[in-house]
C-alpha cells in the first residue's frame, strides 16, 4: 500500500492511498470536520468514479468498522506486526500447500528461509507454542513466524512448495 499525505491550505489535508488491488482512494479531511472519500480509476486520474461525503461522527463510526474494532473480518490472510525490521506474520495453511503433512524438520524451515516458527494453531489440536522439528503441519492451521521481510518471503515459498 502506498500512502501520500499533502496539505491543502485553507481546505484541510489530503491522503492519497494506492491499494494493492490497484485502486486509488483519495481521502480529504476538511478543516470543518467533514471527510470526503474519492475513488479513482488507476488509469484515469482526472475523473473520480464515485465519492462519499461524511460528517465527523459518521467518519468515526466507519473508521471503527474499517479498522476492525467492533467487527473482526474473517479473511485475515496475513497479519503483520512490525518491530523495526523484524516482522511477525500469520500464515493460513491452505490444503493445496505442498508443506501439508510434512514436519517442520523435514521442511528444514530455518535453513531454507531464515524465519523462525513461533507458534502453530491447529483447529483440531489447538495451539503449539515454539513447535519442535517433529511437529507436522496440517491443513487449515495458522502458522506464526518471526523473521525479517526477506525471510518471510522465503518462508512463504517453502510453505507453498514444500521445502527445497
Amino acid at each position: 500500500m502506498n500512502l501520500k499525505e499533502t496539505d491543502l491550505p485553507g481546505i484541510g489535508k489530503k491522503f492519497v492511498v494506492t491499494t494493492r488491488s490497484g485502486d486509488k482512494l483519495v481521502i480529504i479531511v476538511h478543516d470543518d470536520g467533514r471527510r470526503e472519500l474519492y475513488h479513482f480509476k488507476h488509469d484515469d486520474e482526472e475523473e473520480s468514479i464515485s465519492m462519499v461525503t461524511l460528517d465527523d461522527d459518521e467518519a468515526r463510526h466507519i473508521s471503527a468498522i474499517v479498522g476492525g474494532i467492533n467487527y473482526k473480518p474473517k479473511a485475515l490472510e496475513t497479519i503483520e506486526v512490525a518491530l523495526d525490521d523484524l516482522i511477525i506474520e500469520w500464515y493460513r495453511i491452505e490444503s493445496g500447500f505442498k508443506c501439508v503433512g510434512l514436519s517442520i524438520g523435514e521442511l528444514n524451515v530455518r535453513q531454507q528461509s531464515g524465519a523462525t516458527i513461533i507458534a502453530l494453531i491447529d483447529p483440531t489440536h489447538g495451539k503449539t507454542i515454539n513447535p519442535g522439528p517433529d511437529v507436522v503441519i496440517t491443513a487449515n492451521s495458522m502458522l506464526v513466524a518471526l523473521g525479517e521481510r526477506q525471510h518471510q518471503k522465503r518462508l512463504r515459498q517453502v510453505l507453498l512448495n514444500g521445502g527445497g
Binding site: 496539505d7 481546505i11 480529504i28 476538511h30 482526472e46 473520480s48 465519492m51
Partner: protein, 412 residues
C-alpha cells in the same frame, strides 16, 4: 442620529437578502453583496421610513467595511505559515512564479496601454493579478474538486499570490499614500514600509513566548479584548507611517499564527470576519454609482479578456511544469481566474491615495464580472477544455512531447 440603528439594521437586512439570493442560485456570494450595495446608496430613493440612501449611517458602514478588511487579512495571516510555503515544493514555486510573472506583466502592460499614469497603472496591475482566495477555495469544495491532482497546484499558486499581495501592497501603500512626488521620497517611503514589516515580524517572532503567556487566560472576554487590542493598535499604527492598515493586520495574523493559541484565535475571529467581511463588500458597492459605470466599461472588459488569457496560459504552463495532463492544467487557469476581496482592497488603496476616480468603477465592474464568470468557468471547465483542445490540440502536442522525452520518433 435618531435613525442610525434602524439604517444599519436595514443595511444588514439587505446584505442578508443578497446572501439568501446567492444561496438560492447556488452562486458565489461576493458579487451579490456588491450588487446590493450598488442598487442602494446616494442615488437611491426613500420609501416612507426606509431610507435607502444611508446618508446618516454611510460613515459608519464604511468604517465597518474597513474593519472587515482587517479581519479578512488578519485571518489570512493566521492561516498562512512560512513552513507550509517552504514545504509546498518546487513545482508550486515554479508554478506561482510563472503565474505572477505572466499576469503581473500583462496587468502593467494593460494599464500602460490604456493610458493610465504610473501610479494608476501599478494599482490596475495589482487589481488584475490577485485571485480571490475565498471564491477559489469555496468553488473547489463545492464542485468536489479537492481530490483532483491539480488542486495542490491551484492552492499553491493562491498562497504564492498572497505573499506577492502582502509585499506588493506594502510597497504600493508607501508609494501611493505618502504623497511624495520625488523618486527619492517614494523609494524612502517604500523602504520604510518594508523595513517596518521586517522589524514587526522579527520582534513578533521573539515575542511569541511572551504572547503565549499573555494569551493564556481562561476568560473568553479578556482573550478577545487582548486580540482585538493587538490587531487594531498595530493596524492603526501602520496607517500612521503609510503602511496600509490591511498589511498591519496581516502581520499581526502572521505573528499570532506562531503562538500556541492559534486555533482559539481562529474560532474567535471567524464570525467577525464573516459579518464585517460581508459589510465590506456591501460598502464597496455603496461607493459605486451604477450610472457612472459606463466610462469604465471598456476598460473593465479589456482587463477581463487579458486576465482570462493570462490565467489560462499561466495555468497550462504551471501544470506542465508539474507534470500534470493538459486537461488538469486547463483547470488551474479556469479556477484561479475568480477575482474578489483582494482586488477591491487594492482599488481602495488607490482611492485612499486620491488617484483617478475611474479606478473604483473599473474595479467594481471587473470584480463583478470575474466573481460571477470565474466560478462558471470552473464549473464548465471540461467543456471549455474540449473546445480549446479542438483548436489548439493540447493533447496531440502533449503526446508528441512525451514521445520526444522518451526518445521515440513521434512519427513512429
Amino acid at each position: 442620529m435618531d435613525h442610525l440603528i434602524f439604517e444599519i439594521g436595514l443595511a444588514v437586512a439587505l446584505i442578508a437578502a443578497g446572501g439568501f439570493i446567492s444561496a438560492k442560485l447556488r452562486f458565489s456570494v461576493i458579487p451579490f453583496y456588491i450588487l446590493i450595495g450598488m442598487a442602494v446608496g446616494p442615488h437611491a430613493g426613500q420609501i416612507w421610513h426606509l431610507d435607502f440612501r444611508f446618508i446618516e449611517s454611510a460613515p459608519l458602514i464604511e468604517f465597518m467595511g474597513r474593519i472587515g478588511v482587517l479581519f479578512l487579512l488578519f485571518y489570512l495571516g493566521l492561516e498562512f505559515s512560512v513552513g507550509r510555503l517552504i514545504k509546498s515544493g518546487k513545482s508550486i514555486a515554479v508554478g506561482g512564479t510563472i503565474y505572477i510573472a505572466i499576469n503581473f506583466t500583462l496587468g502593467l502592460l494593460f494599464g500602460w496601454g490604456a493610458g493610465f499614469p504610473l501610479q494608476e497603472t501599478l494599482i490596475v496591475a495589482g487589481i488584475t493579478t490577485i485571485s480571490s482566495s475565498a471564491i477559489v477555495a469555496k468553488v473547489l469544495v463545492d464542485l468536489k474538486r479537492t481530490a483532483n491532482p491539480e488542486t495542490e497546484m491551484i492552492l499553491g499558486i493562491i498562497m504564492f499570490e498572497d505573499v506577492f499581495l502582502a509585499v506588493y501592497i506594502s510597497i504600493l501603500s508607501g508609494l501611493v499614500l505618502s504623497g511624495s512626488s520625488t523618486l527619492g521620497g517614494v523609494l524612502l517611503s517604500a523602504l520604510l514600509s518594508l523595513g517596518f514589516m521586517l522589524v514587526l515580524l522579527i520582534v513578533g517572532r521573539k515575542a511569541v513566548p511572551l504572547l503565549n503567556k499573555w494569551l493564556n487566560v481562561s476568560s473568553n472576554e479578556l482573550f478577545a479584548l487582548i486580540i482585538f487590542a493587538l490587531l487594531f493598535i498595530i493596524a492603526g499604527f501602520s496607517e500612521t507611517i503609510h503602511v496600509a492598515e490591511a498589511i498591519g493586520a496581516l502581520l499581526v495574523g502572521l505573528i499570532l499564527a506562531e503562538t500556541e493559541h492559534v486555533h482559539r484565535i481562529e474560532r474567535l475571529i471567524i464570525p467577525f470576519r464573516d459579518f464585517f467581511g460581508a459589510i465590506f463588500f456591501f460598502s464597496f458597492g455603496l461607493t459605486i454609482d451604477p450610472l457612472a459605470l459606463g466610462g469604465a466599461l471598456w476598460y473593465s472588459l479589456g482587463a477581463v479578456v487579458v486576465t482570462l488569457i493570462g490565467n489560462f496560459v499561466a495555468g497550462m504552463l504551471a501544470g506542465r511544469s508539474a507534470g500534470l495532463s493538459p486537461k488538469a492544467s486547463s483547470n488551474i487557469g479556469l479556477t484561479i481566474v475568480s477575482r474578489g476581496e483582494f482586488s477591491i482592497i487594492v482599488a481602495n488603496l488607490g482611492k485612499a491615495g486620491g488617484l483617478l476616480p475611474l479606478i473604483q468603477p473599473f474595479a467594481a465592474l471587473y470584480v463583478l464580472i470575474l466573481a460571477i464568470l470565474g466560478p462558471l468557468l470552473t464549473k464548465e471547465s471540461k467543456h471549455i477544455y474540449k473546445l480549446l483542445n479542438r483548436i489548439f490540440k493540447f493533447e496531440k502536442r502533449n503526446r508528441t512531447d512525451e514521445k520526444a522525452a522518451l526518445g521515440d520518433d513521434p512519427a513512429g
